[in-house]
Symmetry: C2
Subunit: 298 residues, 2 copies
């Protein structure tokens, strides 16, 4: 896909934060020849050194204003809870016409916390790539991470159309399929498909971790029977996920409440031996799997 | 592994029930030349026909007594809740010295419900292969399913040692690693590693299924963000899993209670914005993943 592209999209891109997503997008932007010059701004010196070593960027700095001063596109790739502070720190350096985007897993909170700091004449195009692995850090990135995956854009009404188009093209060249959505709706859909599953995986792995030592060793030994899948999810970046839950509180708590009710219903069915209730649900859930396979998402 | 074997272990093996596990063990026993003749007994005519068509057996019947009458080994491969009835139905046909085994995911309930029906001189060796896929039925089986996976045996004290040894060898030839365990301990370990994860996956997929139609379609569309992994688990055999929960009620309810407390703790931390509590747990859970990778179970 990326080989069919020929035009530079942005002379200079700056990544604020260079973890799994930032490094993958940097590699993909280079590969599709969409950018001339990449700057990385990261407060973590080890990440800056790693980014230079891996050829993810031309320049790496810890200075926000310096980092963004000639940028045509700035992509915030820090945890959701840090986006506002990063925006405040870099705002004085942004040039007129610059596009700011992000990759956060929550959108309402970021639109709010970032938007408030951006000067007039700068275009904010909030984005969320539905892609990732359980690994983190700049060395975890790879250019193909976004291939065939969704990229959700949640630009507020009135966002500059050219800016939306350029961000769209960058992600299309990374192999993404683009979907436009209202930020509030995004946060509810993701609360169900992503935030609740992660919260539950973290919980069950924590429950196992609190077992006595002998039992815990056996849980690890026999993890292949189902538990293992949860540990993969529950090894995702702790700070990023902490911020996701704190910044999408309302939707997460609402869907968590529904989940808890449903779990209590099943708990009661098990206690009272209500075989039909269990079988009915377990049959119904198979259907969703089929629909996911049909939608080519399996 | 299977190619280095040379001796027939059992002249005749009968499988009661021929789903994913039964068909995989039949294929593996054939491949390792451990058996001369295989009979399948299944009340489902379509399964009997499929088993013959796939060459899983020499004879297929719906008659329990006929099926087991010359068998040296009978393996119960029906859902846990049906093992007792199957044992009662076949018991009059079992010859002296016959070994009976099973593949159930719960052990105390099966040891009890099957053991009570077996005549003197028949040896019962309860077994549980920690292996499976989300697919079911005789066409889902493959000889390599058990390769590198655990097989837990829970023979009661006093079980014939030769019988244990022969069942052990059959599974070793299938590629399994063997572990002996007390049935009660098995049920607690599996409640954590397998039964609770499945219950939770079923619940969350059910919660999603109850959403309005539009939202549900989007959950399917964006399932790759975490939800998808749960749908795979929640598409496992409904009747088998119904029986697992009903037959390991005590251990499942105990571990479910712990899980619910832990989830409520996290829910409260999200509501009150207690970032440190979330980050502490999410960091701790990463460690278990590392231990699983170190144990070569990832």
């Amino acid at each position: 896909m990326s080989n069919t592209q020929d035009a530079i999209l942005f002379d200079r891109i700056t990544f604020i934060g260079i973890g799994l997503i930032g490094s993958s997008l940097a590699l993909s932007a280079r590969k599709s020849k969409s950018v001339n010059h990449i700057t990385v701004c990261d407060i973590n010196q080890a990440h800056r050194e790693k980014a230079l070593e891996l050829g993810l960027c031309d320049v790496a700095t810890g200075d926000y204003i310096e980092a963004v001063k000639d940028a045509d596109l700035v992509v915030l790739c820090v945890p959701p809870g840090s986006c506002g502070d990063a925006a405040a720190a870099m705002a004085p350096g942004l040039k007129k016409g610059c596009i700011v985007s992000d990759v956060g897993s929550v959108k309402q909170a970021i639109v709010q916390s970032v938007g408030v700091h951006l000067p007039d004449g700068v275009h904010f195009v909030p984005a969320h790539p539905i892609a990732g692995t359980e690994h983190s850090g700049p060395e975890a990135g790879f250019a193909e991470l976004f291939k065939g995956r969704w990229l959700i854009l949640t630009p507020p009404a009135g966002t500059n159309e050219d800016a939306i188009k350029k961000v769209t093209t960058l992600w299309e060249r990374a192999g993404s399929q683009i979907e436009l959505m209202d930020a509030q709706h995004h946060d509810m859909v993701l609360a169900i498909t992503s935030h609740l599953p992660h919260l539950i995986a973290y919980t069950i792995v924590g429950t196992a971790d609190d077992l006595g030592d002998h039992l815990k060793q056996e849980v690890i030994k026999f993890s292949a029977s189902g538990f293992r899948d949860f540990t993969r999810i529950a090894s995702s970046d702790p700070v990023m996920w902490r911020d996701v839950f704190l910044n999408n509180k309302e939707a997460v708590l609402e869907i968590l409440q529904r989940f808890s009710e449903d779990l209590t219903f099943l708990q009661r069915a098990i206690r009272w031996g209500e075989a039909d209730k269990l079988e009915e649900l377990f049959t119904r859930t198979r259907e969703i799997r089929r629909e996911i396979i049909d939608a080519n998402q399996a």
